[in-house]
Subunit: 252 residues, 2 copies
């Protein structure tokens, strides 16, 4: 199967390599930034291009891997093709393709990707959706070739999965960043908390987060909460987060 | 060395087992709840007691493992002893012992403990502090017998470590719980997010959380943020958390 990648960022890089390893033939990598297109195209044995006009019209698959807010303009610039056109966004409805293409769908890899961090793509959940039964069948086969963890979801479900992922990953990471800042003010390293961070993530593999909740807020231990808030008196945004979380935890 | 444990909850259970495994002799487990004292004492080959008057006066170590807000009253009820008196709290200053005992300190195990979840205690960071050089030396040796990861900190530093741990563990776990709720409303399981949760925690073992931040807030992708907030319109507390985090992330 011949594939065109539109985008050369984190998702394009990891998805491109996974497709390449599964013997898909990546023929082109398109990016507005040629240096980035060159780099990825070289790794995938593909042609780097910048201009949408140069996109091969007879490929089987086209993946839009760019940022969500660039998707409408990229679709507008894209030539008409018969192949299956897909985007990889968690938050964007499938019907963004509806007026221009006949064969379209979504393949959303539910993972946090950084270019220089290796990922075992076979364990990445792939959330997919397509506009016809035929395309759905095709996309399901493709998803199964790339990952052991695939799920068919509607655009509405996918938006909720993406929202849940923002809490479980982006906000969690920000909690780590706040912890690192608090420790740094005392000349201490985040290394101290790494066993705790590992165990907190590990615990919910076996028990629900609701059952796993510990700490002063769930115990309504107000004497500790007051001490913590006093330490945050110069940090308005951290104090606000602390108060809101403590309230939300104690209400569950 | 003879040890008396005051408390029979999560910390007492895990610390007690670690002491037992390191060949300390746990002679008594004291709890206001006899069923709980019995259970732990049986595992540690110790005498269960309820009354502070029955506490052995000649032990080498006394560990207060109960809740922070019970500590002042427990200390008041405790008979005078010559052995080293310790508490295990992250947030409570060492000098809570000052007026009553001559030999005292703190041994704070920085981990989230549940009674039924096994923990490798040798990798739990132990934060310690004592009131004299002699007691500090004694406590350092004890800490080294229990864990490979020990650190001497002041009460002020320990309070900051505890505060950072609340962000990195308690608030993180609450983010998982919110994600689970959002998915449940769509009939979906948190299992979908487990690879993402693992990877998010794993990423910061190698790179700082600041460098690892992904998602719509750090990219200032307002079209996604608006979609997410619209999905949270019936969930005031989640929407507040979402807005506050997005603001805080975009300001970093």
């Amino acid at each position: 199967m011949q594939v065109v990648l539109i985008g050369s960022g984190n998702v394009a890089t990891h998805l491109g390599k996974a497709l390449h390893n599964a013997s898909f033939h990546i023929i082109q990598v398109r990016s507005s930034q040629m240096a980035s297109a060159n780099l990825l195209a070289q790794q995938l044995n593909a042609e780097p291009i910048q201009d949408f006009e140069k996109i091969n019209r007879t490929a089987d698959l086209y993946f839009f891997c760019g940022k969500d807010d660039l998707l409408p303009i990229s679709i507008q610039q894209m030539p008409s093709v018969k192949g299956l056109v897909l985007h990889t966004s968690g938050a964007c409805a499938m019907n963004i393709f509806g007026s221009k293409f006949n064969n379209f769908g979504v393949l959303y890899p539910l993972q946090t990707f950084s270019k220089n961090t290796a990922i075992d793509f076979h364990s990445v959940p792939l959330i997919y959706e397509a506009n016809t039964e035929v395309n759905l069948k095709k996309l399901r086969s493709i998803a199964h070739l790339l990952s052991q963890n695939t799920q068919h979801c509607s655009s509405e479900q996918r938006l909720h999965i993406h929202l849940a992922a923002v809490f479980a990953s982006n906000f969690t990471n920000h909690c780590y960043a706040i912890a690192e800042n608090i420790l740094a003010q005392q000349g201490l390293s985040l290394d101290l908390l790494k066993p705790l961070i590992k165990e907190t993530a590990h615990k919910i593999m076996l028990n629900s987060p609701q059952q796993s909740q510990t700490g002063p807020a769930i115990r309504n231990d107000n004497s500790i909460i007051e001490k913590h808030l006093a330490e945050l008196q110069d940090k308005d945004s951290y104090r606000e987060i602390y108060q809101l979380f403590s309230k939300s935890i104690s209400q569950t």
